[in-house]
Amino acid sequence: MMPRYWRVAAPALVLLAAACTPKPTPSAATPVPPPAAPSTAAADSAAAAAAAAARRDSLAAQARADSLARAALALSHADSVKTQVQGQSADTAPAATASGLSAADAATLADAIHFDYDRADVAAGDQARLDRKLAILAAHPRLAIQIAGNCDERGSTEYNLALGERRAAAAKRYLVAHGVAEGRIAIVSYGKEHPLDPGHDEGAWAKNRRDDFVVSRGAN
């Protein structure tokens, strides 16, 4: 008798193998390989290991279920990206409607933090802003957020996308280090594509070098 999860996940595994396996998911926490180490090898062996584990007896049943669930999740995520790519959907962040928070908490959670030019470290003054978000996240364990990194108009389009990713990651690292579960925080970079202030001076630039915080799953 085939366990239920195996029936669900087996086709996913086959499809994953046929697609020659994307890189490990961000949550897979694989060690950093040396330069030129094929990361697909890691993903391939992870998939193979999962398959091997699935063939063994029930001692590792829980681990098996977890890894298969991860594989299925990866696949469904890939499918949703493909759907968006084919459908040319607009780039809109999930709406923070009905977050289940008080207006004050919602404002505190959405309070942006700012960065120095070409820097991605959280300023000492902004740690307090993040600490106030920590309290809200702790009080509402179902709440999930997306952190969006943004840059000013200086610097290249492409470098700013990388810099924006680092800015979002810096805030996420701080929150995770202070106890928020990693899976509750997604990050995204807008580079210099979404300036808050369209001006061309330091006043505008300072406003645009920021992390925005958006509720992606409500507290209720």
């Binding site: 990206v81 780039d91 070409d118």
Partner: protein, 440 residues
């Protein structure tokens, strides 16, 4: 006092100074500024008037004449009166007397079996002979196809006269208003390419010009998309469903795609095996810094790229397996501005990039033989250079005309011209030469 300063400013802004802006100005450390222009050393060419008042011949002549001009290999001169004799044949004596080196004749094809056939001849005026000729089959109806065919013929004429082909039968991708566009290097044929995501960023050509790759902004992420230009079909690069995925570049053999993938630990360069539709290999390992904008040497052996490992983003190089990473362009930490947007030249001799000078990006070219850095621009903001397949022209984004648009510079003569129909453009990518089937 103020008045005197104003006067000085006015004197400095004389027409001569304005013209020379791109080759004057203080040079940053270790930088050789400017372009050497030696007029009068190029052969002259004229496009002869058509023998009959045929509209199609006139339009072919106009396109040819402009393509020859934009090749920057010739002094294009007007045909003198009496340049042609009976049936449109060139009068070598009259042309020679005016010092014309070459004459291009556009004639109805001799054995034209039907409409739409034209003969293009290149005459060597000095020797009084036809150096070469071709029959041009002009497709009926479609203006784009006609122009593509004439561009192909112009490139052949350039090759016959100078030994290397022109760049008229090419196409430039760019981003404007978050959408993807293409334009011919003469400013005609501008067209939107339906693409995934908005904005669409960092377009790149495959070597056979049949597919493109780009970054798509979609709600769930920044995946890389490979798109077939003819069918519009799309494929997401495996592994790019997560994080930020930018700056794709096909390898010269078209079998691999180098790109940068960023996640919570920083941005690194990977290779995707396009030929086998699988397998992603990691080339750099950064922790909380970025490696991006890989660009291939034409032999496929090396990649130049941008890294912020020493603080600000600068130009580095490595072998295509990720080994031997080292700084490529000299920089002084703290005084050299951010460097971005590198592109290796098609002849392998140089890498173009932009670097901030006093907070304003300017286009530079690194000569790989001696690692000397040459500043190409100095007027307004100038960024994201992309090489034409002839290795002497660059297109780049410039604000010099008061609006942001694409410009083209010929590094041999220093001639700069705005590229029409590109207002608001950024991130240009100049195609390789189109395959002969497409060029007609």
């Amino acid at each position: 006092m103020t008045g005197r300063l104003l006067l000085a400013a006015l004197l400095l802004a004389s027409p001569a100074a304005a013209r020379a802006q791109d080759s004057l100005g203080p040079a940053p450390n270790g930088v050789r500024v400017g372009i050497t222009y030696t007029p009068g050393t190029r052969p002259s060419v004229t496009v002869l008037p058509a023998p009959a008042a045929l509209a199609v011949l006139d339009s072919v002549r106009a396109i040819l004449r402009r393509d020859l001009d934009y090749s920057d290999r010739f002094e294009v001169v007007a045909a003198p009166s009496g340049a042609t004799g009976q049936g449109g044949a060139p009068n070598y004596q009259a042309l020679n007397a005016l010092g014309t080196d070459f004459a291009v004749a556009v004639l109805p094809a001799v054995d034209a079996s039907g409409a739409g056939q034209v003969e293009v001849q290149l005459h060597d005026v000095r020797t009084g002979t036809v150096r070469n000729r071709l029959t041009l089959h002009l497709p009926g109806g479609n203006g784009e196809a006609v122009r593509a065919a004439v561009h192909g013929a112009a490139d052949d004429v350039v090759r016959w006269a100078t030994g290397s082909a022109g760049i008229a039968a090419t196409s430039i991708l760019f981003v404007a208003d978050g959408r993807l566009w293409r334009v011919d290097p003469d400013g005609a044929g501008v067209a939107m390419i339906p693409s995934a995501g908005r904005p669409t960023l960092s377009p790149a050509w495959s070597p056979d010009t049949r597919t493109i790759a780009y970054t798509a902004f979609v709600p769930s992420g920044r995946p890389l998309v490979i798109q077939d230009l003819a069918t519009g079909s799309r494929q997401v690069v495996p592994g790019s469903e997560y994080g930020v995925n930018i700056t794709p570049e096909f390898s010269p053999d078209g079998k691999q795609l180098a790109f940068a993938h960023g996640d919570e630990n920083g941005t690194d360069i990977y290779l995707y095996d396009v030929a086998r539709h699988c397998c992603v290999t990691r080339l750099t390992v950064g922790r909380y810094y970025d490696n991006l904008s890989p660009t291939w040497s034409p032999d496929g052996q090396r990649l130049a790229f941008i890294s912020s490992r020493a603080g600000s983003p600068q130009l580095y190089v490595m072998s295509a397996d990720g080994s031997g990473q080292e700084a490529l362009a000299h920089f002084d930490f703290g005084s050299t501005g951010q460097t971005n947007g590198p592109e290796w030249s098609p002849d392998g001799q140089a890498v173009a990039f932009h670097r901030e000078v006093g907070g304003v990006p300017q286009v530079f070219v690194l000569d790989l033989a001696n690692r000397a850095v040459r500043q190409i621009t100095g007027d307004g903001r100038n960024e994201d250079p992309s090489w034409a397949p002839d290795g002497r022209h660059l297109t780049f984004v410039s604000s010099r005309g008061g609006v942001r648009q694409l410009w083209i510079v010929d590094l041999e003569t220093g001639r700069m011209r705005p590229l029409a129909n590109t207002v608001g453009a950024r991130l240009p990518a100049w195609s390789p030469r189109q395959s002969s089937a497409e060029a007609g």
